[in-house]
Amino acid sequence: MVRGVPTSRFFANIAADDQKRIRLAVAGILAGAEVFSKDYRLVKGDGTMRWVHASGKAILSQDDLPLKFIGDLVDITEQKRVQEQLRIAQSAGAIGTFEHARGFGTVTVSEQFCRLLGLHPTRILPVATVNQLVHPADRPIIEPILPEQPRPDSNIEFRITRADTGEHRWLTRRGEYVRDLSGPGLRYIGVAYDITASKLNEERLKRLNEGLSESVKERTRDRDRIWQNSRDMLAVTDQHGRILDANPAWPAILGIEFSDLVGRGMSELAWPDDAELVRGNFVDTLREGSAAFESRIKHAEGTPRWVSWTASRESETIYLYGRHVTREKEQESALREAEAQLRQSQKMEAVGQLTGGIAHDFNNMLTGIMGALDIIKRRLASGRLEGVERFMDAATASAQRAAGLTHRLLAFSRRQPLDRKPVDVRQLILDMRELLDRSLGEQVELRVQPSPDCWAAVTDANQLENALLNLAINARDAMPDGGQLSIETHNIALVAGEMPGLIIQGKQDFVAITVRDTGVGMSAEVLEKVFEPFFTTKPIGQGTGLGLSMVYGFTQQSGGGVDIKSKPAQGTAITLYLPRSPAESQIDVRRGSPVPQGAGESVLVVEDDSSVRLLVVEVLRDLGYSAIEAVNADLAIEKLRQNDHFDLMISDVGLPGMNGRQLAEVARDIHPGLKVLFITGYAANAINKNEFLADGMDMISKPFDLEQLARKIREMLAVVMNTAVIVPDS
């Protein structure tokens, strides 16, 4: 462009602001400066301005004097704009640029590049200076070896230590290897920018991830540990109960190798009796999602192990949790056994207490009987008969007391057949007055006040007497310093539920007999237990603990009940409720009349106990009966066959071989309509007389006095049996 024109022409179009600058540069070239490289504005004819870049070189002579100046002028208006944009882009984006030509130890950089590295802003930097700041482990900013062919370079991240502050930053660079515009080699043009913030975020994210995966690992480890260390059996099975995985507790508990467990079905491992149960529970688990059950599993030794299972399903997989409970099971059964043993020993202790008490009472009574008999025997031997009756009465009293005790025992065990009849309660109580007076002693004031309109009750008169006597003696014992004992009666109609323990259909009439004392009374705790068998407040050996429980048993058996009211220091009132008799006052005839005599009627006595047999036969003969005896059923049948007629057969119920009732059947085959009187001491099958006895049969309980026996026989023989007439064979 500039050729052969005056220099004034060269300067003419240069914008005024740039004039001096360019003149200086031209002067420099003329003075020997080598490089001319200036940007300046040219004003065009129409007044518009263009930016141009002028570059050139002075051609020097041998003595370094400038000969001529060759240069180019390029319109860079567009370039300027782009440069400006680039500059703004670079400073706004904090992007530094650099350019490195092969073979040079320096690199051309932008100011922003210097700022990134914390270097003094400049255009040229030594390669070493730049690379020096890079972390030794990272790729250098300026690669020492350039490739042979132009190519884009990948993104390189590296750490630097800022030259000014020593701060560590992350930078990244990317660029391209391009053909050097001015030389033969390649040139690397690149940009660099700070990525510390994103790198830190990345680091943080990575650490967070690592922490996360670490905590996942930690948790997995925890779970592994639980799986490994659990003493409970953990397993994963498929939906058919086939074991997919099992923890070490399985081999430990079942003695089966792990390899033998996997693939086995749970019902296969189960104890054969439990296989169906296990299968059923797996079906439940599949259907319901979970199940809990106990089953036995086979140990390798072939013995069962109890396991308490919890199974839960997740889609097709079942998670199984089993607690080995064999020991607990064993302990449980051992506990049950121990409890049973304890109960047994408690029972034995109670029996011991009972037998001790009974033995004590019996010994007293036996002493009375044996002593009296001994004295009588000696008096008889010496012929001194006066006053013997006193001893005989004493012996009889003792024996009766013994009989009373056995009655109580039987009543307690409810083996006592009740002879329920309408009883005139008022008369019975009045008759007891004398007995009670004797029993209670002088310190107790007795008031017997049955109401005059007292109904008759359906009960066993003997048992009622016993019960009242028992209550009176208890009352006496509750008043060691004396007091008042009253027995009174009243009629009462009760409805269902009015009295606990009393079964009433609708509304029912009862005769209430109350025995009241002014004694020490009982606490609520004692009151709770008074009806329990063997419960006694008396010292061992002095009471059987059967009194109140016997009373309770008796009233229950009578279809009545008993009520007790007591408070410490306020006395006790016990009321017996006995059902009213529908048949008014058919008073039991007892005692007083002379003993009825027989008139030679033939009686067969079947009794295995020789002394009882002897007594009964003797009494019958004394009373004027013809008595034939037999020891057992076989002999009795023989006698029955030998004789054409018997008026009565008296038989023990409990005979060896054929029992009394069976014998009666056979006897009636031989002698139809034969009257039979059973004697029973302990007749389990005779509790309910009506079921046991057929027509023309009756029963008398041991021990009985001979007068009772005589009356019973007379009673029976007095009744005319229709059967005898009807049966043709008779």
Partner: protein
């Protein structure tokens, strides 16, 4: 360094840069002749900085020890001129100057002498040209070799005050295919700066008159 170089306006800086450019060009030309290779020059940097900052400018860029050829100059303006190389490059320079046929022993033996001579040629050329441009003459001391860190090179001069402002001119140059690079630095104190400012103004007047 913005805000510090208030004493030179933009045109004056341009002019000074041009003067230095001319000087360095001559010096580079001498170097080119000596090593027989292309020598690349940067645009001269002209800054007014503290002595410490000037030391840091070089020190910051060069971690290894440096070797410098120093010459004092005196005249209308006074100061020091330094030709600085990284120590490892100085051997290369000596070899380049002495020619490839020189043996390693010879290079080792004569390194300091070769460097001093090279520095003398380059610095004399550079300063001489500059003085000539400014119609002045300068008296140059004998070249002296200094070794050490950037800081040491600059404090060696015995300036009492490190915080004192100095005019710091530097150009970096590199020699193609020889892995040689270095700096040419000039330091002047404030009185010299004031004198230089006047001389620069004269220079501007002179060259901007219509030729």
């Amino acid at each position: 360094m913005t805000g510090v170089n208030i004493s030179l306006d933009e045109l004056e800086r341009d002019a000074l840069t041009e003067v230095v450019n001319i000087g360095v060009s001559r010096a580079a030309s001498s170097l080119r002749k000596m090593v027989g290779r292309q020598v690349l020059l940067s645009v001269p940097s002209v800054e007014i900085v503290t002595q410490a900052a000037a030391a840091a400018l070089i020190g910051q860029r060069e971690s290894e020890d440096l070797v410098a050829v120093k010459q004092e100059f005196e005249g209308a303006f006074s100061g020091r001129a330094l030709l600085i190389f990284p120590e490892t490059k100085s051997r290369e320079l000596a070899r380049a100057v002495m020619g490839d046929e020189a043996s390693a022993e010879q290079v080792s033996e004569l390194e300091s002498e070769a460097l001093a001579e090279t520095g003398n040629v380059i610095l004399n050329n550079c300063l001489g040209t500059m003085a000539n441009m400014l119609k002045q003459s300068l008296k140059m001391s004998l070249p002296e070799i200094i070794r050490g860190t950037g800081e040491r090179l600059f404090s060696e001069t015995g300036e009492p005050d490190e915080g004192a402002l100095v005019l710091f001119l530097y150009i970096n140059f590199s020699v193609q295919d020889r892995n040689i690079r270095g700096y040419i630095a000039m330091l002047m104190d404030l009185p010299s700066m004031a004198a230089l400012k006047v001389l620069i103004a004269d220079f501007i007047d002179r060259v901007t008159e219509d030729v």
